[in-house]
């Protein structure tokens, strides 16, 4: 069944996000703390660091993976809420479509950024 399949991926994507976003949040938001106890590498959003990361293929791939899973998870969650609002069948269909298109659009844009920056700042 369609809904079972979507929910299946909603849960699996949450597991993937948990790992990747856990690392992401750890480096981005505990950077200052890690720096103080001597394992940090300085300001993570400093342009030198941002572009250093963008150059590495591992980062590009994980960024795209996190982008895709995050968007699917979030968009399904939002759809879930809309489906609980007693809307008409046709409106539900439209909202599902709009969210899917928005998700794919954002995914394409984000992937484009990751790939372009990887290539231009590459060796």
């Amino acid at each position: 069944m369609r809904e079972s399949r979507l929910w299946f991926w909603h849960i699996l994507s949450a597991v993937v996000i948990l790992v990747l976003l856990g690392v992401h949040m750890g480096t981005m938001h505990l950077g200052e703390l890690l720096h103080r106890i001597g394992i940090g590498t300085g300001d993570p959003v400093d342009s030198s660091q941002v572009f250093e990361r963008s150059r590495q293929a591992v980062y590009m791939v994980t960024y795209i993976l996190l982008l895709g899973t995050g968007l699917f998870h979030g968009m399904y969650g939002l759809r879930s809420m809309f489906f609980e609002l007693s809307l008409s069948k046709s409106l539900e269909k439209t909202i599902g479509g709009v969210l899917a298109v928005a998700g794919v659009g954002l995914f394409l844009y984000g992937s484009y950024v990751a790939v372009v920056v990887f290539q231009t700042s590459g060796v």
């Binding site: 948990l18 976003l21 200052e32 703390l33 030198s48 572009f51 969650g77 984000g110 950024v113």
Partner: protein, 144 residues
């Protein structure tokens, strides 16, 4: 046909935990934080997209978002994330049937899923609180 009076609670049902249990409050918070993170995430995709314009463009973008107001906003996202992530692990386990016990023959006083689950629930919330505190310490250093 006599007139029926509509009595659905509406959105208040999503947000008002009332006299129900802790799980009901966690449910409301999970919704709110999920929506908040999603809104931030979409913004985040566009903001970090500024990398395409090269290091100068990136630095000016970061400067634009460097005000304390945005730092506080970001910190709120960290808190929301801490709750959503830890509570999310709990929900994954629970919705797949773990940590809530097995069905049996009901006998008074009744034992039921959320009641059996309560100790686990509290442990998870302690973890979430710990994560928020660690995030708070980092935020303190950043603001100083």
């Amino acid at each position: 046909m006599q007139q029926r009076l509509k009595n659905r609670l509406g959105l208040w049902g999503w947000l008002g935990g009332g006299r129900y249990g802790l799980d009901r409050y966690a449910y409301s918070l999970h919704r709110l934080t999920g929506l908040g993170i999603l809104a931030y995430f979409i913004m985040h995709i566009f903001v970090t997209g500024q990398r395409v314009g090269g290091p100068e463009n990136w630095d000016s973008t970061m400067a634009a978002f460097g005000s304390p107001l945005f730092k506080v906003g970001e910190f709120l996202v960290v808190l929301a994330f801490a709750f959503h992530a830890i509570n999310g692990i709990r929900l994954i386990l629970v919705e797949l049937g773990w940590l809530i016990g097995k069905p049996g023959v009901p006998s008074f006083p009744y034992s039921y899923s959320t009641l059996r689950h309560k100790p686990v629930f509290i442990i998870f919330m302690v973890f979430a609180a710990a994560l928020m505190i660690i995030g708070g310490v980092d935020f303190y250093f950043v603001m100083k």
